[in-house]
């Protein structure tokens, strides 16, 4: 393998050289230029990993903004659930009323049909 080919592969294998193909490993072991490049990648990865513990302090006020936003979202959610609760109660009332009206209608019809049957006899 040529150094140019190895250079293409180094960013892929830097965090697991042991899993790389044998020709690549053999080349790196015998090539100072590729070893140097691999060392640079390793150093880069080490520093990138160290950044995890760093904290970039935001300008003041961010936490207040987040909590205010959450408060508003909470209120919106409460209103929504209240409205949906009322909607359920309203639909339930309508269903009960419709049921009652249907039952009354059935009774009236039954009474009328009984009366007309009596008259006919």
């Amino acid at each position: 393998m040529q150094c140019e080919e190895i250079a293409e592969l180094l960013p892929q294998v830097v965090d697991g050289l042991e899993t790389a193909d044998h020709p690549l490993i053999r080349h790196v072991e015998s090539c100072l230029r590729c070893q140097a490049e691999l060392a640079q990648y390793r150093r880069l990865l080490r520093v990138l990993h160290q950044l995890r513990t760093e904290v970039i302090e935001p300008a003041p006020g961010l936490v207040t903004e987040i909590l205010a936003e959450l408060g508003e979202a909470g209120e919106r959610g409460a209103i929504r659930s209240l409205l949906s609760g009322r909607r359920v109660a309203y639909l339930g009332g309508l269903a009960v009323a419709a049921g009652a009206a249907g039952a009354a209608g059935a009774i009236v019809l039954a009474t009328r049909s009984r009366r007309s049957a009596r008259l006919a006899s």
Binding site: P11, A36, I56, P58
Partner: protein, 194 residues
């Protein structure tokens, strides 16, 4: 997960709003750091963090604790940052080519000033900011925050293969920026340092 955070998460899941507020207080600086590293600017980072906490609050019941709360929050932050960056690029029509050379006029990442006594962390942080956003997102999530490829692909809305290609491009660009022309000049020295 530290015990204190675990207790707050459990209380917040049970509906304790004050516990969630305390979670925000305990984690917002880290979440902001992730957002800043992903978006590269303060204004976007603030929007992303706010959006991330809203989503976390609404989705907290779905958090099963398979990963730490911080990792879960980082994933949400990554997803929000991806949405925000997509919105930005649509507005500005300035999608950067992944292979374009890194150019940034800000003095803190000027190559000439870079030679001064900057620490490795500062130099790497500056180089990260100079990457195209979609390369930066992948390398930050993988090499800084250690998220698996699968999670990165899911949160950025790309395939795992695409996430890996972007990661390798990002690493190459960072190395080229941080160690220009050094391979030949100091090759032996660097090799011995491994």
């Amino acid at each position: 997960m530290p015990d204190e955070l675990a207790e707050l998460v459990a209380a917040a899941k049970a509906g304790d709003r004050k516990a969630f507020d305390a979670l925000v207080q305990a984690t917002y600086a880290h979440a902001y750091t992730v957002a800043f590293r992903l978006t590269g600017n303060e204004e976007d980072a603030r929007d992303v963090v706010q959006d991330a906490y809203l989503r976390a609050y609404r989705g907290l019941k779905r958090f099963r604790g398979d990963s730490s709360f911080s990792t879960w929050l980082y994933r949400i932050t990554a997803n929000c940052a991806s949405t925000q960056l997509g919105r930005r690029s649509r507005h500005r029509h300035e999608e950067l080519d992944d292979d374009a050379p890194l150019a940034d006029e800000r003095p803190e990442i000027d190559p000439e000033l870079r030679a001064s006594a900057e620490s490795d962390r500062e130099r790497v942080s500056a180089a990260l900011l100079a990457l195209p956003p979609r390369l930066r997102a992948v390398v930050v999530l993988r090499d800084v925050y250690d998220l698996p490829h699968e999670a990165i692909a899911a949160e950025l809305g790309i395939s795992e293969a695409a996430a890996k290609v972007r990661l390798h491009r990002a690493r190459r660009k960072l190395r080229e920026r941080l160690f220009p022309l050094r391979a030949e000049a100091t090759g032996e020295e660097d090799a011995r340092a491994v």
